[in-house]
Every structure is written in C-alpha cells, then in structure tokens.
Amino acid sequence: MTGILQALNDGLRHSLEASAAVYLLGEDILDPYGGAFKVVKGLSSDYPDRVITTPVSEAGIVGVSVGMALRGLRPVAEIMFGDFLMLAADQLMNHAAKFRWMSNDQVRVPIVVRTPMGGYRGYGPTHSQTLEKHVLGTAGLRVLAANTLVNPGTVLSRAILEDDDPVLFVEHKLLYPQMMFSAGSEFESHQLRGRYPWSILRIAGAPRADITLATYGYMAEIGREVMVRLAYEREIFVEMVVPTQLSPFRLDPLMESAGRTGRVLVLEEGTLNLGWGAELAARLLETLDQDIQFRRVAARNMPVAAAAKLEQHVLPQEDDIFSAALTLMKP
C-alpha cells in the first residue's frame, strides 16, 4: 500500500523523469529539508538543476512559473501553506489564467501550483484554511483536489505533463500520512475515466443509495467514516461521489447520482458560504426536474481557531455530517 505523501513524491519524480521541461520551485524545497511537508523530499538530490528553492515570495514564485511556462517549460510551484495562496491570487487570475485566451490562443501556460490546504492541526487562523473556493470559477484556471481514492501522484503527473492549462493542485496536510484507499470488503469503489477521474464509493452489497454525499479532497476520508456509521447504525446508505477536478465545474456524475437518490449532502472543509457545493446546488436547481433534498456541512463562518476544542467547533466533524444525513432522511 502506498502512502499519499509517497504517491505525490512519486508523481513529481515521474514527471521530472519523463520530461526535461519539468521544474520544481518553492520555499525550502531542497534536501535534506525537502519542503515543509516533505512532498518534494529527495528530488533536489536527484534533479539538482531542476529543483529550485526560492525566496519567500509567493506572488513571485507563481509569476516566475508563468514566465517559464510561456517559454516552453512545465514548472511546478509549491506554496508552502494554502493560506498563502491569496498572495499569488493576482498572478493566478490575471496572468496564468488569462494569457492563453487573451493572446488569441497563441500561448499556453502549463504551470501547476501545488499547495496544502486544511486544518485539524491547531496551526491557527493563518495556517489552517481551506481557501480554494475563492479561486474556483476562474476562467482559464483548473483546480484539482487530491484524494485517496484516485492515486494523487498519477493525477499530479498528468497535470504536470499533459495539461497545457494552469492548474491549482490542492493537497491537504492530513492527506499526507494517509494510505491510498483500497476498497476491501467494506466498500465498492468505482472510478470514472478521464484525465482527472471521479470516484464513486458505496458500501459493499448495499441497496440503492439513499443519499449522495458530494465531497472532495481530504473530506472524503471523513465522509467514508460517516458512510460506514450511517450504514451500520442507521441503515442509511450513502453514495459518495468525489471529483478530482473542482473547476471548471463538470458535475455530471453528481447530477446523475442526485437524480438517483434525490438527496444531496455536500461536505466541505471551507466556510459554508459560496463554497464548491453552492455551484452544485445551482446546477441541480437549473437542470433537475425532480425534487431534491439538499444540505451542506462545512466550516462555521469564522476563522479557524488554534485551540483544539475551538478548532473542532469551527471545522466540520463526523457528527455534523451524521446528523445532517439524518435530517436529510426526515420525510
């Protein structure tokens, strides 16, 4: 079984190996340190010319990457914490995402910006956020989120090697120590093909699902726990539908699942308002004729506190999801 940290590291290594155009940039990414979360560990030793440690300059790092990409390279930038992404927001939105289209398709910007979002670690208000919702829906920028259901190393190397558009690749601090999911006897797992595959997870041998659980990234780990509890404690069967690509929004598998179950539970770690699931709601309302029960579980509308119990209060917990599912089942 592969761990996620290793899978990501493998994905980067594979990319460096496969193409001389691939470069890694980021703060503190040289060995022996190997990056704050060790995702790039070992790579600077093996590719010293193509792993470039940078000053503490998030906007600059992304801007430099865009420049490299415009000149034929395929840079991968690491932003140490997702919380710092907003420092590079202008570079992402007004440069990376625009050059292709505004140049009348004369150029491409194949960069990947990797960054770990997320809390549950007590790092406090500026080191625990889930901020990707703020860049979703940007024309010209793809946003992916790693999860354990689809090898994130494979996804990452596809984004690096095959995708000619800029990609924000969202990781999660708590994903790193996880193992790749294997369905075992408890689950049935199903992947939809594509460069950035979807996963659909069901309890093995379960009847038709009652609820569609729409979630992504690390939240799928929590979602999985709750699926089991709901099945065994309440005989409520959940179908968890997990995209790898968050933006552009291509939500067909979710719409289909929602059509089957009639109930949608969205789970997100960011604050609730105008999160990824809101676009799902809009699409459901726009396109489905049938009645849909819909609930969201997400962070409370406040910063992520440092203290354990407070952080717990702010971020979504298993119990919140469990009760939301029960509410959804009420006639």
Partner: protein, 306 residues
C-alpha cells in the same frame, strides 16, 4: 551596429505618427476602450531594442505600443488590434494593453509582468539559449511589491534579464516625489544588480549606454538595469492630463525626434516623414477595412474536460 541614425529616426517616427493617429482617432469613436501612448519616450525602446537579437524576449506593460513597434511588430497588426479586427495581433481579444506576438508579451497589471520576465530569463538560462529578456517598466511600477520579489530572484539566480526603467516622472497623475522615496537606481542596486542611470532623450546615447549592459547580460553575467529619465508629451491615457503646461513645454524642447532629426539631412527627414505617414495611413486604413472581430472565432478559455 544594425541601424543608422536614420533608421532610428524612422522607427521613432513610426511610433510617434502611429500614436498621434491613435489619439486623433479616439474621439472619432474608431476605437473602444483606452490607450496609453508612447509619445515622447520613443528613444527608449528604439535605443535599447537596437541590440535585440532574434531569439530575445521583450516583456512590456500597459504603455506597450512603442515597445511593440520597436520590437518589429507591425503597425497594421497593432492598429487592427486597437480597432478590434480579426487581423489584430490578438484578434481583438487583448486590445491596447494586452498584446502578444512572437517573443513579445504585455499585460495591463502593473508590475505583474516583471516576475514573468524573470521566469522567462530562468527558462532561457536553463535551456542555455543565450537570449536576453528585456523587461520594461515605469517609475510608478516601482510601487508594486512583486517587482522586488522579481529583482531578488533575478539577481540571486544570475538571470539574463535587462530591466529598463522608463522614468517619465509620473505614475498616471502622480509626480514621482509623491510616489517614490529614495533613489531609483538604489532600488535595483539593493539587490546586487548593476545599474546605470541616464537622463536623456538622445536615442544614440541610450543605445550606446545600453550596449555594454546588454552585452554583459548576454554573456550570462546576471541581470542589469538601465534607468532612463524621460517624459511623455501626451496624456497618461487619453485626455487626462493635469501636468503643468510649462513643464510639458520645457521637456518638449528635448523631443527625441527633433534631437535625432537634427543629426540628419533635412531632405532625409522629409522623405522619412512622407514614407512613415504613408505607412501609418496604410496601417489604419487597411485595419479599418478588416473584418470586425466577433463571436465567430471565440474559443474556450481552457480545455474544460475533466
């Protein structure tokens, strides 16, 4: 040396007449949007880009027409872009501030293009291409933090980028004394970047001064910067000028075109005037007859498939 004094004059004149035409046509509703003309600053791009080689790269900013024409861009392509024609350099998508052609790039976010230039220089260096990246910016752009992030990396990694700081003494309406503390040259030197500072509108002097700096950059000696004190004669964009008329008048006495014309035979000057006026006419009239850019050729911003 590629060009004679007459060549430089011709190029400056092309920029000048082109830009004058733009300002003249704007109120007539032939364009849409806005523009920032290069009138008064022609000697900078023409002088510096004299040393341009085929594989070199130019990263420009909002005031990009002059850079673009000095780079070798076509007047017709630019006129069409401004008029929103399918024949525009970016088929009308970018407009005045957002042009891309061969190794020429511009964007309307001040300062945002400077890290791009540094990244391009990194690509050049890593691929051992020996090209120089020319990065143009104005005095006002020194307000943007990302510029310093870029200078640091350029110097730290000894990248082949040549920073050209066109100090026209204003950021939009704001005189430099209200937006900039300290000395411009030191802003670059603080990052270990060798910098020269000249106050001149003489294209030959600018060309000669930049030669040695550009040569060092090309020889992989790391980044260099040239600060050129200059002046724009026209408004910041279209009609928004609040500068002292006497001040403008005073700087007009150092008009780079007049300086250069004085070095030439008056008949040559006259001939060039006629030649250039025709080219400008031609560019705009052709552009005006070109098909208007419409939704027909619109593509997606990216590959949307998942």
């Amino acid at each position: 040396m590629k060009s004679t004094p007459a060549d430089s004059f011709r190029l400056m004149l092309q920029i000048r007449r082109f830009e004058e035409r733009v300002l003249e046509l704007f109120p007539r509703g032939l364009f849409y949007g806005t523009t920032h003309t290069y009138i008064g600053q022609e000697a900078n791009a023409v002088g510096v880009l004299h040393w341009l080689e085929e594989s070199d790269i130019v990263v420009s900013n909002h005031r990009c027409h002059g850079h673009f024409l000095a780079y070798g861009g076509s007047m017709h392509g630019l006129a069409s872009e401004l008029m929103g024609r399918t024949t525009g350099i970016c088929a009308g998508r970018g407009g005045s501030q957002h042009i891309q052609w061969r190794n020429f790039y511009a964007n309307g976010i001040l300062g945002g293009t400077v890290p791009l230039a540094v990244g391009m220089a990194l690509a050049v260096k890593k691929q051992s291409q020996g090209s120089v990246v020319f990065s143009f910016m104005g005095d006002g752009t020194l307000g943007e933090g990302v510029v310093y992030e870029s200078l640091n990396m350029a110097s730290l990694w000894e990248l082949p980028v040549f920073f050209v700081l066109e100090n026209n003494r204003y950021a939009q309406s704001t005189p430099i004394k209200l937006h900039l503390a300290g000395e411009i040259a030191k802003r670059f030197e603080a990052f270990g970047i060798r910098t020269m500072h000249i106050d001149s509108t003489d294209v030959d002097l600018i060309r000669n001064t930049s030669e040695e700096l550009i040569t060092s950059v090309r020889k992989a000696a790391g980044p260099r910067a040239l600060i050129i004190d200059t002046y724009r004669f026209a408004p910041h964009s279209k009609g928004d000028d609040v500068r002292d008329l006497e001040e403008i008048e005073q700087f007009r006495r150092k008009d780079p075109l007049q300086l250069q014309a004085a070095k030439l035979n008056p008949t040559t000057v006259e001939e060039l005037e006629t030649e250039v006026m025709e080219q400008v006419e031609q560019a705009f009239s052709t552009a005006q007859q070109d098909p208007v850019a419409d939704a027909g050729a619109v593509t997606a911003a990216m590959d949307e498939t998942a």
